[in-house]
Amino acid sequence: MPFETAFLATVLPELILLATACAVLVLDLYLNDEQRGWNHNLAILGLAATLGTVGLLSNNGVTIAFSGSFIRDPFGDLLKGIILILTIFTFVYSRDYMRERGLWVGEYHVLVLFATLGMLIMVSAHSFLTLYLGLELLALCLYPLVAFDRDSKPGAEAAMKYFVLGALGSGMLLYGISMLYGATGSFGFADVAEVVNAEGLENKILVFGLVFVLIGVAFKFGAVPFHMWLPDVYQGAPMPVVLFLASAPKIAAFAMATRILIDSLGALQADWGEILMILAILSIGLGNVVAIAQTNIKRMLAYSTISHVGFIFLGLLAGTQEGYAAAMFYTVVYALMAAGAFGVLAMISINGLEVEQLDDLKGLNDRDAWLAAMLALMMFSMAGVPPAVGFFAKLLVLDAVVSVGLTWLAVVAVVFSIIGAFYYLRVIKLLYFDKAADSTPLRLAGDAKIAITVNGLAVLLLGIFPASLLGICNAAFSG
């Protein structure tokens, strides 16, 4: 494999992040408990530097490095930027929560940073091997993160299930990749695409490979019926981990789906579109209906995630440029909303309170009106109520589906999202109309408040001016 030093410039963001993670790992050894803040600061500094490098390196062109296994393009730059921002949000939101529980140790930062590195690699993968590398780096960091509170039994159980099912999902993906390799003789997305374009469905092994790869993708997204890990993991993991897990990895999963399904298997769109349709209907239906029955807010949001994944799939299965852009828009928006919602939950889980049940949200408005307003905004956005951005996300996806003649699918999606609106509104009712058991005002850190405000404003402003983000999403798929 010819190696050029210029390649290193292409992976500079990843290198900086790697260096940061290693630096935190070493630095943590020399810190005592009062100085743990340095981990936090260093991690955020490293993330910011990575973000800046991503911005500096971005241009409209495409750079391919390492013999076609790594790609840098505007699509990836945008997703990487959002992943990095969400990770910064994660650290800022989670500080008080983790510190109070004695979990604010270097390992937490290191694991999150390595997981982020895995996501960046996934986003920039241009061959199945690179993709798998990033995916496993992410997954292997997430397993211990779920069980990060070692004394929590639900956490251990959730991590165990996540690990077993995740290994199975990765296995399926790998099995599919091996079949694609067998059928095409290459791991590179471009080469695979070439063979697929030429042979199409004639090659049955290719179809099998597609199915297994698709299962792997669906598993990482958490689409029904590969969703079983999601509610347990959301419920068992510490809130900041759920916050992280629910936001950034969804973007990485979307990048993975795009790279695999569109970039390399685009010619088989008719086949994977069909499977995605089944998964999307199941996800939207089951997610929305089962969410209603939940009394645990984390589980409720888990099922809500499942239904949102269904919507993302709707955009993908449309198979048009508009559909892909709509799905990308939806993913980004969903990640922002999830980060905001779980961010608020993590921020109010202080002073010994662990927000688990929906009832724990009662009367939040009396305790901190701003946080309540932010959470309400996220709920409205998730329910798809204008002018929050969630509405546009749904609208774009439905528009894409209708424009390829799948009107009935749009109607089904709309019916279920009407049902889904119910449980989001229940949260609003709890926030504003119910009395809190303990109505002492919350005292929150300033930076977390700034972060949640930025997050909330993003959801609101993107709702009022969606054209900017939509333009970028469109540009990413117009090439």
Partner: protein, 969 residues
């Protein structure tokens, strides 16, 4: 963009009440907030009025700005006659409501919040009527649902208010989503979301096959918003709102949004049979039903709510007729209804305010205390009943006339006038009931307070509205005609001939009016009978309770889907996952399976070039099958199952030998031994409890899944392995000797071609060892003294024979290891295998003679061993850099020495030694640490006992955990 300010001002101005409240002292808060709100509404009204001359001159004012061009969403507004009618209603009545609310809410501490939401609502409502783009209209539509939710639930302390607000939001918001679907379809049919183009595409929409779904979806939106049967029930529930809200939302604005939609899309959809049956039918039903129910409501606002439903039904019916004159009458009645119903709601609010109740069974004789309010209410109620010389009469007369002139139903033509008259009778009855029960009907009953006239200014809005009723009723041509003309013109595109005169001569419609008046009065006289009959015929049920039951039912359904609200079983999850995978994998094959060509398939199987079958491979295959079946069958006897799994591994290594892969065979063999020891150790510490018996169904399910999955994988393997693909083996076979100086290709790949991989792998091994070391440090596990059946474990932990036999084995095994390491580059062997062999030899000593015993004799620090190995490999790899060669470039020297004979030295050998050290260290570290897990003390006692029995040189305090593998006595 001047036009846009009409919509923008209320939105921006919503902040003003908040600001105003901050600026003034506390006691002036209310006044400041309402003044600010009034100011905002007035400015919007002024801008609207400034545009009216253009419209009166016959033009339309347009303003447009792109917003999201990709989906056809533009910020397009149009100000035409129809929009003007509604804008004037919204802003005019809005101003009066603000004035009224100022007095109504005087004592509330949240005045600013109220006015802010009210202004937001006003802006959204203006947006609906001014939008020139379907999607924009929809946005504002949903905003009205949202803000009305906040307004209805304004009093958060009342459970009814919250329930009513939620119901209103779910019904109208849900209808909005249906409308969204309808608009998306309509836009795709019409080719644009711009209203002007959609209105022009009426013909195309009529003919399109999607006409019916589009119509149904859009009507669903309109009917839910305008409270048409069977979606009417949210409106009475929403009466929990503060009265100014009801006066505004539930008379003039929100519920009229649906009517506006019907008027706006009248040219696109009307004139088809289906439109008539759907819209006309629903409208007529609602008209009759609402009027009937209204009679029996005891709450004044409940009565007004049902009367509103009835009037909305009437308007809907008029549009449903699909005739130009019907549409004119519909628009006219919509205006009139807004005026008289707003004043009635305000009057009801005054009564509530002054008397402290709205229950008509508790109210009576208020006339003496509030004659002016009484008069006003009386006039407004008369307008509602359709008494001549009032505005309600005019439009109702037009309604009656339309029913008479209609010829859709053939010989059932009499039915329409009949129903209309019946509804008219009900309307008169409930109007009379309202006035008579509240203001007359006997002396005043016991009330919490003595009622009196409201503040002067609180009555002003009612007075203005009632004056309007009179003015329009008496001088229709002079007052309302120009406005109505404009509205009709822009709604229909032309101006039908119609007459607004009060007196048409004696005609059938007039007769119907008279019948309705007399009949209504008569009905009211008979009210006692009527009430009893109603209670008997209609059991107390309502749409609201049905809704409640539905929403509870949905929750129950959701719970039923998840019998176990807590955590789901992992086994079930995996079964589901496998099942779906199988279904998805078999799915693409179904067509092929359907038309399965058996002969072709067997031909293909016969034609495959498979390796010839011989006796040894057949035997090995049989052993494999038996052993695998044994593992499944004996899974409850863990020890036996583990040993059988070991058998599978050994047979596999034989298979490698058979296919000339001695390296793989050696690796497999050694790895198998280490894994078996590791498994036994783990089993030793697992709880001894019996494996839970699975139900018959679970076992069957798992069996079927396993068999199908296994068959699938086997078939896939067969297909893939018989497909000819270019092999990479040739390259390595040719390049091994010249490039790497090695005759053993496998080893050359490991340490040279793929040296980087190996370097990574041993690093991972080292990390894993360090991780296990860190995790197990300091942990002591309980060691059971007895087995599952209560039998004690054998006290003889270190059988002498084994100990004696194993000792001479050690030097031999180590020699073999070194031999394997050295010859690795040319013959089967290598660092990996050598490390495993040495590891096994050392572990055997621990097994045979105890950990303590071996530890005293073998003072090896495993972590240092691993570190040294890693450094050695890394050093070799980096050494290449010193000679300006890429990382990991290998070098070899060939020398002939007199003493040693031919000797070939390669740098890869050093690398391989590093691998050897790391593997050895890792194996030992893991097994050693796992072995130490058992508690020292318990074993100490048993060890002591053993010392007494066998005077072997075993220290008394040994902890022979490794040796005490669970052999049963």
């Amino acid at each position: 963009m001047f036009l846009a300010w009409i919509v923008a001002i209320p939105f921006l101005g919503a902040l003003l009440p908040y600001g105003a409240v901050r600026l003034v002292p506390k006691q002036a808060c209310g006044a400041a907030a309402s003044l600010a709100a009034a100011l905002v509404s007035t400015s919007a009204l002024i801008i609207a009025l400034s545009h009216t001359p253009d419209v009166f001159a016959g033009g339309e004012v347009h303003a447009s700005m792109p917003w999201i061009p990709r989906i056809g969403l533009t910020l397009a507004l149009r100000f035409d006659g129809l929009a003007m009618v509604f804008v004037l209603l919204i802003l005019g009545i809005g101003l009066l409501v603000i004035l009224y609310a100022h007095f109504y809410l005087a004592k509330s501490d949240q005045v600013a919040r109220f006015f802010a939401i009210l202004l937001l609502f006003q802006g959204a409502m203006l947006g609906i009527v001014l939008s020139d783009n379907l999607l924009l209209l929809l946005l504002f539509w949903e905003l009205t649902s949202l803000t009305s939710f906040l307004l209805v639930g304004f009093d958060p302390r009342s459970i009814e208010a919250r329930r009513g607000a939620r119901m209103a939001l779910v019904i109208t918001g849900g209808g909005g989503l249906a409308l969204l679907a309808g608009f998306l379809l309509l836009g795709s049919v019409a080719g644009s979301f711009e209203l002007s183009e959609v209105l022009a595409a009426g013909e195309r929409v009529h003919q399109h096959p999607l006409y019916l779904p589009i119509l149904l979806l859009i009507l669903l939106g309109a009917f839910t918003k305008s409270a048409q049967f069977p979606f009417h029930f949210w409106l009475p529930s929403a009466m929990t709102a503060p009265t100014p809200v009801s006066a505004y939302l539930h008379s003039a604005t929100m519920v009229k949004a649906g009517i506006f939609l019907l008027a706006r899309f009248f040219p696109v959809f009307a004139e088809t049979d289906i439109w008539f049956y759907l819209v006309g039918g629903v409208g007529l039903t609602t008209f009759l039903f609402g009027a009937y129910i209204a009679i029996f409501k005891h709450d004044i606002k409940g009565l007004l709510a049902y009367s509103t439903i009835s009037h909305l039904g009437l308007i809907t019916f008029l549009f449903g007729l699909g005739t130009p004159l019907g549409a004119v009458a519909g628009l006219f009645h919509a205006m009139n209804h807004a005026v008289f119903k707003a004043s009635l709601f305000m009057a009801a609010g005054i009564i509530d305010h002054e008397a402290g109740t709205r229950d008509m069974r508790r109210l009576s004789g208020l006339w003496h205390f509030m004659p002016i309010t009484g008069t006003l209410a009386m006039v407004a109620a008369a307008a509602m009943a359709g008494v001549p010389l009032l505005n309600g009469f005019l439009s109702k007369e037009m309604f009656f006339a339309e029913t008479v002139h209609h010829e859709w139903l053939g010989h059932l033509d009499w039915l329409l006038p009949f129903i209309a008259t019946l509804g008219g009778i009900f309307a008169v009855a409930y109007s009379v009931r309202f006035i008579h029960d509240v203001f007359f009907g006997g002396p005043l009953q016991e009330l919490d307070r003595t009622p009196h006239e409201p503040p002067r200014w609180m009555r002003i809005p009612v007075e203005i509205l009632v004056a309007l009723c009179l003015l329009v009723g008496i001088f229709p041509e002079q007052t309302v005609r120009p406005l109505l003309d404009l509205g009709v013109q822009s709604m229909l595109g032309f101006e039908p001939r119609y007459d607004l005169a009060i007196w048409h001569g004696f005609s059938f419609p007039l007769l119907m009016s008279l019948v309705a008046l007399v009949g209504g009065l008569l009905l009211y006289r008979l009210r006692r009978w009527l009430f009893r009959a109603h209670d008997w015929v209609f059991p107390p049920t309502s749409g609201a309770s049905v809704f409640q039951r539905l929403s509870t039912g949905l929750q129950l359904l959701a719970r039923a889907r998840m019998p176990h609200p807590t955590q789901a079983s992992l086994q079930n999850s995996i079964a589901w996952l496998l099942l779906t995978t199988l279904v998805l994998a078999i799915w693409p094959l179904l067509p092929a399976l359907w038309s399965l060509d058996v002969a072709g398939l067997s031909d293909w199987l016969m034609g495959l070039e498979l390796s010839p079958l011989d006796v040894p491979s057949l035997g090995a295959g049989l052993i494999l099958v038996v052993a695998a079946a044994g593992v499944v069958g004996l899974r409850r006897q863990r020890l036996q199952a583990t040993i059988l799994a070991g058998v599978i591994g050994l047979v596999l290594s034989l298979a490698f030998v058979h296919f000339s892969a001695p390296d793989l065979a050696l690796t497999q063999l050694t790895v198998e031994v280490v894994t078996t020891i590791l498994l036994l150790l783990v089993l030793y510490f697992l709880p001894q409890s019996d494996v839970a018996r699975l139900s018959r169904w679970r076992r069957t399910r798992d069996l079927v899944l396993a068999v199908v999955a296994g068959t699938g994988v086997a078939a896939l393997a067969l297909v893939i392995m018989t497909t000819q693909t270019p092999s990479i083996a040739e390259y390595f076979l040719h390049a091994a000797k010249p490039a790497a100086g090695a005759s053993n290709v496998v080893n050359a790949i490991l340490v040279d071609f793929r040296g980087f991989d190996t370097l990574g792998e041993i690093t991972v091994l080292a990390i894993a060892a360090a991780g296990i070391f860190a995790m197990l440090r300091g942990i002591r596990l309980h060691t059971p003294q007895r087995d599952l059946f209560g039998r004690p474990w054998s006290p003889d932990v270190h059988p002498t024979i084994l100990a004696m036999l194993s000792r001479p084995l050690l030097p031999m095994a180590l020699l073999v290891a070194v031999f394997m390491l050295l010859r690795g580059h040319h013959e089967p062997g290598g660092g990996f295998i050598a490390g495993l062999i040495a590891g096994i030899a050392l572990v055997l000593q621990q097994l045979a003679s105890g950990q303590q015993w071996s530890a005293e004799r073998l003072r090896l620090n495993y972590t240092r061993l691993i570190g040294a190995g890693l450094l050695m490999a890394l050093g070799t790899a980096s050494a290449a850099l010193l000679w300006q060669r890429p990382f990991l470039t290998s070098a070899f020297w060939h020398s002939e020495s007199t003493w040693l004979g031919e000797l070939e030295l390669t740098s890869a050998m050093v690398f391989d030694t590093g691998v050897f050290l790391v593997v050895l260290g890792t194996v030992m570290l893991i097994l050693d640490n796992l072995g130490r897990l058992s508690g020292h003390r318990q074993h100490g006692r048993r060890a002591g006992h053993q010392v007494a029995a066998h005077p072997a040189p075993v220290p008394a305090a040994s902890a022979p955990a490794l040796g005490s593998a669970p052999w049963k006595s």
